[in-house]
Symmetry: C2
Subunit: 233 residues, 2 copies
């Protein structure tokens, strides 16, 4: 009987994990479509992202509810409880990533043909690829409790931050040279900022992997401390 | 004996609630000092905010840990479990508000005398007051499980959003008239954006009050639905 309950419980945890990954897949798709909608001036895609944001929100609420039910029913301790706590935090970040994708889609809807600066377009495309890759890797680390990978995600967040700063400098130069580009330049900065924040959320998610795996809370820790905790020190 | 355990448990929940309010007080102070540091070009204040951010982070980690311990030990259900889940979400928002205050402080450190646009200064001061008031009210609603007040916080978030848009328009006009104001103008936009996000976090916190009080998840709901749920419909 005890084994049966435990098996059932394992299934429930596996189900939660699977649904987090599904939510992650949807959010990843939202970023990709928001970036594509903006870069290709494809209003249908931008509209679809805005329309589908409620699906991300619903998944968060459903998963929160499931986590509460499992806590109430199974009274988990130790690693199982850490998994559930990490899931509650992770889905908050996924939902906020969805919000950032929606912001990009909204800007995509007001960017008019020809008003779009050519050069930042390349950088934004690159930043979108980086942010999507970071999210995918963070989800992968979550699925496999991969601490090595999680360290790499935390470390690589700096790359997106550097890209953001580079884009800012470039856009400011454009704006100074030609004040007609100011409005669209600010839109570009907001898009880049949204992508940079997506990177931050992916980093948060990678830090929860440490918490799940080791029970040590690595949020806000310096990179060196994280590596030490993972046995790299 | 049962009564004793229950009393002990009540004390633990009360202790969690008190510590959330303490964390909220610290975060409120961080916003106020960040805004003052920026507006009065007071580097000592800006530095203090950056220095003290780790205290906010530590409070989040300690509270997460306490919540996990209480779940493991007390196996709470229904309203108690909802309180703890809401606390885990609330402190994430408080920590992110702390991050926004830190961003404002960092911008405060690079704003040089005379480079600061006079007019947005007034609006930023006003937005900082609004954001701080929203946070204080959200915390108050949390402490008193006040759904009426929580509705008002959700409703008033629109005021900060409108202020942000007004400031954006004004700063863009300045930038177009005098491209030398572009750099400082973008700094101003980022400060305003940080304040607008603080408002969003306060709104999130108000929405968790619904979840605690009624067990209904009002996040992402339209204002009309929220009012209906609270018996205003």
């Amino acid at each position: 009987m005890a084994e049966h309950i435990s098996k059932q419980f394992d299934l429930e945890l596996e189900n939660i994990r699977t649904r987090v990954l599904q939510m992650g897949g949807l959010v990843e798709q939202q970023i990709a479509r928001a970036a594509q909608g903006l870069l290709e001036e494809n209003l249908v895609l931008s509209d679809a992202v805005i329309e589908d944001d409620h699906r991300v929100n619903e998944l968060e609420i459903e998963l929160d509810e499931t986590c509460s039910q499992v806590i109430a029913k199974r009274q988990p301790t130790a690693i199982d409880l850490r998994l559930i706590t990490a899931v509650i935090k992770t889905i908050t970040d996924l939902e906020r990533i969805g919000d950032e994708a929606k912001k990009i889609a909204k800007i995509g809807k007001v960017i008019h043909e020809g008003s779009f600066l050519a050069s930042p377009r390349v950088q934004i495309s690159h930043m979108a690829d980086l942010a999507t890759a970071q999210l995918r890797r963070a989800l992968d680390c979550f699925a496999r409790l991969d601490m090595e990978g999680a360290i790499q995600v935390v470390r690589d967040d700096k790359v997106i931050d550097a890209e953001f700063k580079g884009l800012m400098r470039q856009v400011i130069t454009f704006m100074m040279e030609d004040p007609r580009t100011i409005s669209v330049g600010i839109d570009m900065i907001f898009v880049a900022k949204a992508l940079e924040r997506i990177g931050d959320h992916a980093k948060n998610m990678a830090e929860y992997v440490f918490y799940m795996a080791k029970g040590e809370d690595m949020r806000h820790a310096k990179l060196a401390e994280i590596e030490k905790a993972a046995g790299h020190g």
